[in-house]
């Protein structure tokens, strides 16, 4: 039988039952490879449930440094009878299916083109441990030990990891190492180790770190000077505020008084959460909330107020699969339109699209500068894939001495000196006006903030021309904003080409890999990664310079493409869609397949899209 052969390049998928402690063992596996110098990209595919349902953990290992999903599974490790039928089906021909054979595999499931490796995990545990919880937990550690033998991992890296992981709980170190050894010995005694797929120590990660985007965002908020966080729990954004709190506790408690230099309010709902953020922003504190699609829907009314009344507001949207409750624990980039034009009336919101944890941190901190400089909501658009999975990333950095840009705030001294104040007066010609914090001056600079129309001095008016002038100024401000938000990144193809791809956020890595595949076939494409909305002129010229641009995104309705068409009036012929919306991160093979279909002259009908795109296992 064919056996897949590779060194430092494969995809392994663990199939577990949620709530059984598998996550930490699987993490240990990924981290060990990372410490062996191998780029890894673990993805948790988990149910909206606490205990008992199938959960998967897919790890991409690529010495070449491809971090997106490739598509296809080379090794499946299945300890969950519930999902075994599906798990074995997903394995590539020649791949490996490792399973708990305490109970033999149902003969109907056996595939002749897959190498089947049975390890009696339950039996080993039952013989070794008396306590049922120990039997469950160590089962996971035992299969990691077995994998170490099968893949030829550096066993010492694993034992060091265990020691690090249980620092402070030293009692647990030896039993874990013992469990690793049990699995390792079993594999060595029963199989030819290593199998065709194996690893060896490399030097391909440099100074990179493994971090989830939500933690990076929370840290960004700490470094960006956020003092007020208001939020309502929602997957997959909850860990942003958890991280903010964790680090704020560490660094924001005044050592003298023991009091907190931050306030976190768990609100009664998302409406209230964003209201608090706006109230704090109005009053001169840096404040933020984190949510996901359903929360954005609830926040829309307030986002319109913050846009129109021009109040600094920071919102982190960790997107998940919608609409409605959708698939709460699966990823998508499907809030683009609902955030870009959030709220009734003519509104436009600023969006930032990070694609790595480093960028989550950078944009997370920068969002506060932008919000205060531009006096408008800044919405950082990440997603479940980036937010909740460990992503390999450049290390986080902060330039010491960097000051916060507090934007245009008129001071008591300026007011005292007689400087004219009108809250909505464009004195500098950039359409951004001066504001005052409450209580600045005893009798100058007070104004009434309102969501109703008003004149330059913030006095209520229903005069059409004054309303119109204000709305036009907001459009001029929109142009100013383009100069401040992060610009796009361009990667030129090796050869001159008139086709291109455009992507954002977590589609970056898979897109990059897909373009490499295509280049090997002689199809060269330029690439642009959009990092913010509003789009600047570079985005426009890039699209103009190419005959055809494939917009790669993770939603059904091609929302970014719609946004590009709405903002620039490009026709639908120019912009083609590459989509994935099955809730798993888009894979390189999927992108390549869709682009090939287009280029082969096959006009891909929207109906076919679902067929192509839904094969998320690709």
């Amino acid at each position: 039988m064919k056996q897949l052969e590779s060194v430092n390049d494969f995809v392994i998928k663990f199939a577990n039952v949620n709530g059984t402690g598998s996550a930490s063992a699987n993490n240990m596996f990924a981290k060990a490879l990372f410490r062996m110098g191998l780029p890894v990209s673990p993805k948790n595919i988990f149910p909206s449930n606490i205990q008992g349902l199938p959960t998967w953990y897919e790890v991409r290992v690529s010495e070449e440094g491809y971090l997106g999903r490739r598509g296809g599974i080379d090794i499946a490790l299945s300890v969950n009878p519930q999902s075994m039928a599906q798990d074995i089906q997903e394995v590539e021909p020649g791949g490996y299916f490792i399973y708990d054979n305490t109970k033999p595999l149902d003969l109907r499931l056996v595939r002749n083109d897959v190498n089947i490796i049975g390890i009696p995990l339950t039996r080993i545990c039952n013989e070794e441990y008396q306590d049922p919880r120990q039997r469950q937990l160590f089962k996971n550690v035992i299969y990691v030990g077995a994998l170490a033998a099968l893949l030829d991992m550096d066993f010492k890296v694993l034992t060091d990891l265990v020691a690090d992981q249980f620092k402070g709980k030293e009692k647990l170190i030896l039993p874990n190492i013992h469990a690793l050894e049990l699995g390792n010995q079993y594999a060595r005694n029963h199989f030819d180790c290593p199998i065709g797929i194996r690893v060896q120590t490399a030097d391909a990660v440099g100074d990179k770190i493994l971090l989830d985007g939500n933690t990076a965002l929370g840290l960004g908020a700490v470094y960006g000077g956020a003092t007020v966080a208001a939020w309502y729990p929602i997957t997959p954004s909850t860990s942003v505020v958890d991280a903010f709190e964790k680090y704020a506790r560490r660094v924001r408690i005044d050592p003298g008084t023991g009091r907190k230099n931050y306030a976190i309010v768990q609100a009664e709902d998302e409406l209230s959460a964003i209201g608090m953020v706006i109230g704090a922003g109005w009053n001169g504190a840096r404040s933020f909330t984190a949510t996901s699609g359903p929360g954005v829907s609830l926040m829309s009314e307030f986002l319109g107020l913050a846009y129109f009344a021009e109040i600094p507001t920071v919102l982190f949207d960790v997107q998940r699969a919608g609409p409605s409750t959708g698939m709460p624990t699966r990823t998508q980039q499907s809030d683009i339109l609902s955030t870009a034009y959030a709220s009734h009336g003519d509104t436009k919101q600023v969006l930032l699209f990070p694609s790595t944890p480093k960028e989550c941190f950078d944009f997370g901190a920068q969002a506060f500068d932008l919000a205060e400089r531009l006096q408008t909501p800044i919405i950082v658009m990440t997603d479940l894939d980036l937010g909740m999975n460990d992503n390999m990333s450049a290390p986080l950095e902060w330039e010491d001495g960097r000051e916060y840009d507090r934007g245009k705030v008129m001071t008591a001294e300026e007011l005292e000196a007689g400087k004219e104040f009108g809250r909505y007066m464009d004195v500098d010609g950039d359409a951004i006006c001066y504001r005052t914090y409450p209580a600045t001056h005893p009798d100058r600079g007070a104004f009434f903030t309102r969501g109703t129309s008003r004149d330059e001095k913030a006095v209520y008016t229903e005069k059409g021309e004054e309303y119109e002038e204000n709305m036009l100024r907001l459009m001029r401000k929109w142009d100013t904003i383009k100069e401040y938000v992060p610009g796009p990144e361009v990667v030129k193809a090796a050869q001159e080409t008139d086709v291109a791809v455009l992507y954002f956020g977590t589609s970056e890595e898979s897109s990059r890999e897909a373009l490499d595949y295509l280049a090997k076939e002689g199809v060269h494409m330029d690439a642009m990664r959009v990092r913010a909305f509003p789009f600047n002129h570079e985005v426009k010229s890039f699209i103009e310079e190419h005959e055809q641009v494939f917009v790669i995104e993770q939603n059904r309705d091609a929302q970014l493409r719609t946004l590009l068409m709405a903002e620039f009036e490009f026709g639908p012929d120019k912009l083609k869609s590459v989509l994935c919306f099955d809730g798993t991160p888009i894979s390189a093979r999927n992108i390549k397949k869709q682009i090939n279909l287009h280029l082969d002259g096959g006009e891909v009908e929207p109906l076919h899209r679902t067929k192509v795109a839904s094969s998320g296992g690709e």
């Binding site: 706006i278 109230g279 960097r402 409450p438 007070a446 969501g451």
Partner: protein
Amino acid sequence: MSYQIPKFRHPELPVNDLGYTRADYEGSISTLCAGCGHDSISGAIVKACHELSIEPHKIAKLSGIGCSSKAPTYFLGKSHGFNSVHGRMPSVATGAAMANRDLLYLGVSGDGDTASIGMGQFAHVARRNLNMVYIVMNNGCYGLTKGQDSATADEGSVSKKGDANIYSAIDLCATAMQMGATFVARSFSGDKQQLVPLIKAAISHRGFAFIDVVSPCVTFNNNPGSTKSYEFVREHAEATGTVDFVPMQKEITTDYEPGFSHEVTMHDGSTVHLYKMEEEMNPFDRTSALIAMEKHRTAGDILTGLIYMDRDSRDLHDVMETSRRPLNTLGAEDLCPGNQMLKNINASLR
């Protein structure tokens, strides 16, 4: 339309301890209907703030949407104001108060804004015991949309259209108390004698101070059969007792009549004196206050005055142990941990 109040003032207008006249606490001319109860409440707020010698710019006035929520334009013109969205003033006030604990937060809302669309936020701001004064200008109807019944309209109360309300009323004072408010009072826009000291006491209270002020809508709900009309309220208001407010510096000079009375020293050192109190009612005991309210409701009366006060109230900043320095005054040097910590974090992620 906005109007300017004439600048001319009588040269001998009384000034307060800060040297401000009452005019320094006024806003622009009201555009509410002539005779609207809300204007009287605005007047009471002006009087209370002036007499308490609060620096006008140290007050933030916030509101939602509706006739009541327009009112902040008509008082405290030197204060920053925030007319937010319908029913959401409490969240904006909460965020603002988190940012700067040193200001006085004065929220103004209506019965539609609070008892219907904003019921959730109202309940939770009370529960958090945010340090603010929350005044509901309660007229039992939606004035700005021409008089629909609101959730505080009493069952059977007849609107201008002539229909009797078929739903039971929400009693905002009872709700506030059950949600955890630490200061609860009710008054009537036509009774400034009672309202002004109540507002002063509410301002001195540390924590969530709620005043439900029945404020007749002269245009849509002042007709016979309405239980929120001037006439009905005058006839049916029953005070818990009388409230007198004595600021910290002042000496108590009033000779209080004998009878049930209480003296409370507030956080800021001022004194609230309650006298001629109902015998069986203890305003420091939630159960007793709730019983008294229910008793009066059953009798068809409107119980006014100070209904409940928790003298040991700890506000949101107290329980959260936030910095005594307002958070909005902290800079990068207080807030940003610097690159060395990131290096350590990076190291732990390899």
